[in-house]
């Protein structure tokens, strides 16, 4: 079930555009933020609200790399290995995360806490090597900083889950 707060947000966003279908991608992003992925129910609801067929919403999902149909880890670690980061050790950071978590690109830990992704330039090139955990940026990374962060997220994650 989508929350009432989310539905209210949907209404507000749709009202901004001269054409309702313009809201598809923003609505998908906000639905995903709440549910953790894009569910069938979210697709139906969005299609109904912007007055398109569900298949048109699904077409968009396939195009955009941030939208996904399966849950990811609670913390999705996205390591940039593009050129500015590459030159400052982005690949080492990715490998370090991979070893530390025991998962590879686009995989999730069995406890559902972490997933890992090698990503393209995040717009943090002057703080390379850089990564994002969900929407938060982490820059000037070192293997030590990664270790400390993962420990912290592990304990935060354990605390908050029911």
């Amino acid at each position: 079930m989508l929350s009432d707060a989310l539905k209210a947000k949907f209404d507000k966003i749709i009202a901004r555009y001269p054409l309702k279908r313009s809201a598809i991608v923003p609505l998908l992003m906000f639905a995903q933020d709440e549910i953790g992925y894009v569910s069938d129910e979210a697709i139906e609801e969005i299609a109904r609200r912007v007055e398109v067929r569900p298949i048109e919403v699904i077409e968009d999902i396939g195009y955009y790399s941030m939208l996904h149909r399966q849950p990811l880890g609670k913390y999705n670690i996205q390591v940039c290995t593009n050129v500015s980061c590459l030159l400052r050790g982005g690949e080492e950071i990715l490998e370090h995360c991979s070893k530390k978590l025991g998962i590879g690109h686009k995989q999730t830990t069995p406890d559902g806490l972490f997933s890992l992704e090698e990503v393209e330039c995040l717009g943090a090139c002057c703080g390379a090597p850089a990564m994002q955990v969900n929407y938060d940026f982490y820059e000037n990374l070192t293997p030590q900083k990664i270790d400390a962060l993962i420990e912290k997220l592990r304990s935060d994650g354990a605390k908050k889950s029911p």
Binding site: P18, V25, V83, R88, G123, G127
Partner: protein, 439 residues
């Protein structure tokens, strides 16, 4: 949030126009903005004729900061005066060109400067609505800009009858969801209309047929952030900051093997050599320079012998590359150029939208060839085959993403052929893998 130090480290050589409010506490709030000349340019513009605003921007020599470098005022002048369909202003905040991270501090530390620039653009072309298309990864920035937009509505700088002038303008943000191609202006328009981000055939150009079929100007965040300063201080003042036909300053993102990476505002035409040596503190660890990507990953690489160039659009073009998006990536002597070519090719293959064949097939071929080559399984013909593939992408695609993939590859195949030969001779990469280097 970003680490302020990475984006506004500061250098005495900087000339601060659009970054002058960076570092002031709460610089993103409307009160602080108003204390520092905020919305004065809008007031001034609303007292001018729309055409005079366009001419002022045209004469300032402000060129698009998103990559192509087209004169902004000229672009605005292509918008028809009479239109049966509404006109739109779209701000391109998709910032995804590898090596580029300058729109980020502009939105984080001075969102009202951007809003004011958009308002003035809207008034100039007589539009009543604007959109800021922000890449999906920049969620925290969207929240900052949303807050600023709310403040501007509350104080009467957005909405109906702005400052009692009779001018109405609505503005909102729009999140992307991860697609480099959506930074290309016509793909962006499709994306904003709720479609897949495939490019449109030009002409018609967006200034004539754009968003929802109406005349639309699309400008980069940095381009629009400059507009209030031009209106307030005049075209002549702005033009004089730079070089002929290249007005103003530019945010340069110094990254890669450089001692002091950061975003620096320097006059247009600032010498590249001094940028690296004096502003950026030289190559990291005192290493030797091998080359520079002068304007984001889609630009041809300059070798260490080619860096005596003034950083403006025309001079860099004369040197065989592009000023592009302002992303200056420094490559040191330990950099494997085959690896750099491979990583860049991998990016474009990933980001090709697949709409046209030369780009979809060509970028995949380049990536596969370079990946195999770097792994040690290259054969002698590979360099010529790679060059041939790249040359068959160049100029043959619907949108410039194909060129963006081809140009860096061609420059590396040609200028660093000896590195390919060295890989072949050894049957492996002669360079050590990059590890984390702390400045």
């Amino acid at each position: 949030m970003s680490d302020y130090e990475n984006y506004a480290k500061g250098s005495p050589l900087e000339v601060k126009v659009i970054s002058k409010r960076f570092g002031i506490p709460n610089s993103a709030s409307i009160d602080v903005y108003l204390q520092h000349d905020g919305y004065k340019a809008l007031q001034k513009a609303l007292g001018m004729k729309p055409d005079d605003v366009i001419n002022e921007v045209k004469n300032s020599g402000l060129r698009g900061r998103g990559g192509a470098g087209f004169n902004a005022g000229m672009k605005w002048s292509f918008v028809p005066k009479q239109s049966s369909k509404p006109k739109y202003v779209v701000c391109n905040a998709d910032e995804s060109e590898p090596g580029t991270c300058k729109d980020r501090p502009l939105m984080e530390y001075d969102p009202h400067q951007l809003i004011e620039g958009i308002l003035i653009a809207g008034y100039a072309i007589q539009s009543q609505q604007g959109f800021i298309y922000i890449r999906g990864e920049y969620r925290y920035l969207m929240e900052i800009v949303d807050r600023a937009i709310e403040e501007a509505y509350a104080r009467g700088y957005l909405g109906k009858n702005i400052l009692g002038s009779g001018f109405n303008f609505d503005l909102c943000t729009h999140t992307g969801a991860g697609a480099y191609e959506c930074g290309e202006e016509t793909a962006l328009l499709n994306s904003l209309e709720g479609l897949r981000g495939y490019p449109r055939v030009k002409p018609p150009f967006p200034a004539v047929v754009g968003l929802y079929g109406g005349p639309t100007i699309i400008n980069n965040v940095e381009t629009l952030s400059n507009v209030p300063h031009i209106i307030l201080n005049g075209a002549e003042w702005y033009a004089k900051l730079g070089t002929p036909k290249n007005g103003g300053t530019r945010l340069f993102c110094l990254s890669g093997c450089i001692a002091r990476p950061g975003v620096y505002e320097l006059p247009m035409g600032f010498p590249l050599r001094r940028m690296i040596e004096e502003v950026g503190g030289g190559v990291l660890g005192g290493k030797k320079l091998k080359g520079v990507i002068p304007g984001g990953s889609s630009c041809p690489v300059l070798t260490a012998d080619e860096i005596d160039v003034a950083m403006d659009y025309d001079s860099v073009a004369k040197a065989g590359s592009m000023l592009g998006s302002g992303g200056v990536v420094v490559l040191d002597e330990d950099t494997c150029m085959v690896k750099v070519a491979q990583r860049i090719a991998k990016f474009y293959a990933h980001e090709s939208c697949g709409w046209c064949v030369p780009c979809r097939e060509g970028t995949a071929w380049l990536k596969n060839l370079l990946t195999r080559f770097h792994s040690g399984a290259g054969v002698e013909d590979d360099v010529d085959t790679g060059l041939d593939v790249a040359l068959n992408i160049l100029g043959k695609t619907l949108c410039p993403l194909g060129d963006a993939a081809a140009m860096p590859a061609i420059s590396i195949f040609k200028k660093f052929r000896h590195e390919f030969e060295e890989h072949l001779r050894l049957g492996r990469c002669p360079y050590e893998k990059r590890t984390v280097s702390v400045a």
